[in-house]
């Protein structure tokens, strides 16, 4: 019986410690982001990796998300004879909800996992220790460019996702089902407000930060993993954990942010 409680306490302390470490890590990264020297080169490379190279996935998924929204929306809205709302239905659900969330999930799958594995391997092969011993702060050198790139890239990818999705919806709604083109766009223009766009922007900014935070810190603290963060298996398990954790976190934060911003 005592063993049971001991285990619970142990777990609690472990996760508390983990959370504390991640918090300090985030703090260090953010502080370092504002400290000179500012180097553009690494940031550009990270934007290339996180943002630019995700664009095809984003366009693809965005288009199909918009198309399926139009399909579902049309099916539901015809029952009430209000196909005119199709445009606003597609645009609003994309801008407020699906754009930020799905774009973030794509970035997690493409870049988050890679970042976690990269940092994890660097930790494993003493590359991070080497940096520290060279008096190079790994937060500044490794993490800051990723954080900045993430916070820039995820919102931009979200916008691309939204716009491509809207035109995907247009393709299905207007092209396939023959909804009036003017009704589609005018309904959309009049129902979407800056509030909605603002919500999408705030969400995607925060999601970008969360993704990079979780992926980098999971890799960075590989050696603290209780399940034994060593070797190739440790890295792979940790990467899986990072992907799961960041996906869940995104969805939880999505709810919280919606509740706050509404």
């Amino acid at each position: 019986m005592l063993g049971f409680f001991e285990k619970i306490g142990d777990n609690f302390l472990y996760y508390l410690e983990q959370a504390g470490r991640m918090g300090v890590f985030l703090f260090n990264c953010l502080i370092n982001a504002f400290k000179p020297p500012y180097k553009i080169g690494p940031i550009v490379r990270q934007i290339h990796f996180i943002g630019a190279r995700s664009i095809f996935v984003i366009v693809f998924t965005g288009a199909f998300t918009g198309m399926v929204l139009a399909l579902q929306g049309y099916y539901t809205l015809t029952k009430f004879g209000s196909e005119g709302f199709l445009g606003s239905a597609v645009a609003l659900s994309l801008i407020r909800e699906l754009g930020p969330v799905l774009a973030s999930l794509m970035v997690i799958g493409r870049a988050g996992s890679a970042i976690c594995a990269e940092i994890g391997i660097m930790r494993n092969s003493e590359q991070i220790d080497a940096l520290e011993c060279m008096a190079i702060d790994p937060h500044k050198y490794l993490m800051v460019p990723k954080f900045i790139a993430g916070v820039i890239s995820v919102p931009l990818l979200t916008f691309v996702f939204d716009v491509v999705g809207i035109f995907g919806g247009y393709l299905v709604g207007v092209g396939l089902f023959g909804v009036n083109e003017g009704a589609f766009f005018n309904g959309m223009y009049s129902s979407v407000t800056w509030q909605d766009v603002h919500m999408g922007v705030v969400k995607s900014l925060i999601f970008g930060l969360l993704i990079i935070w979780i992926s980098t810190s999971k890799g960075y603290f590989l050696h603290y993993e209780r399940s034994g963060g060593f070797g190739a298996e440790g890295v792979s398990r940790n990467t899986t954990n990072a992907v799961v954790l960041s996906s869940v976190t995104i969805l939880v934060w999505d709810y919280l942010l919606t509740a706050i911003l509404l």
Binding site: V44, R45, I47, H48, G51, A52, R53, I55, F80, G81, S82, G84, A91, I95, I152, S153, P155, L156, L157, F159, V160, D162, V163, M188, Y189, S190, S191, V192, T193, W194, Q195, D196, V197, H198, G200, V201
Partner: protein, 148 residues
């Protein structure tokens, strides 16, 4: 094929992203970066049931502005609506603003019927004559009870 430079690709990405953002915020979100092109007019209603901020303001079915703000006048418990009317559209003093519904369950919007007065409403002025929203349920119950 020649490989593109990282900088070029990133530049393209940034430009594409910002164009999309501009489309969303300016075209859809009505964010005005280039000064206000509207003027404000207020109107009081007994009830606006369901009118939302951002709803359109129309004359003869043509959109001439938007509902900028909806709030309660706590003095006499009337609904106050602030309308942002496009510059260039002048409203006569005796114009009538009414809350209407597009279709049976559609969005509420404000319809303005132009008057004949030679005087126009100044920016910041008030539309004196208003018609409140027609409440479908009230209408139906009235009809039922009157025929009893």
């Amino acid at each position: 094929m020649k490989r593109f430079k990282v900088e070029t690709v990133v530049g393209l990405f940034l430009v594409a992203g910002f164009i999309c953002f501009a489309y969303l915020s300016v075209k859809l979100g009505d964010l005005n970066f280039f000064g206000d092109k509207t003027y404000q007019v207020v109107a009081s209603f007994n009830s606006i049931s369901g009118l939302k901020e951002g709803a359109s303001v129309e004359i003869a079915g043509v959109q001439i502005g938007k509902v900028a703000k909806v709030f309660l006048d706590t003095k006499n418990y009337e609904a106050k609506v602030e309308l942002a009317i496009n510059k260039g559209v002048e409203l006569q003093e005796d114009s009538i603003a009414s809350v209407r519904t597009a279709g049976i369950i559609g969005d509420k919007y404000i319809k303005i019927s132009p008057g004949g007065s030679p005087m126009n409403i100044e920016p910041g002025g008030e539309i004196a004559e208003t018609e409140s929203a027609i409440n479908l349920e009230e209408l139906v119950s009235k009809y039922i009870f009157e025929n009893k």
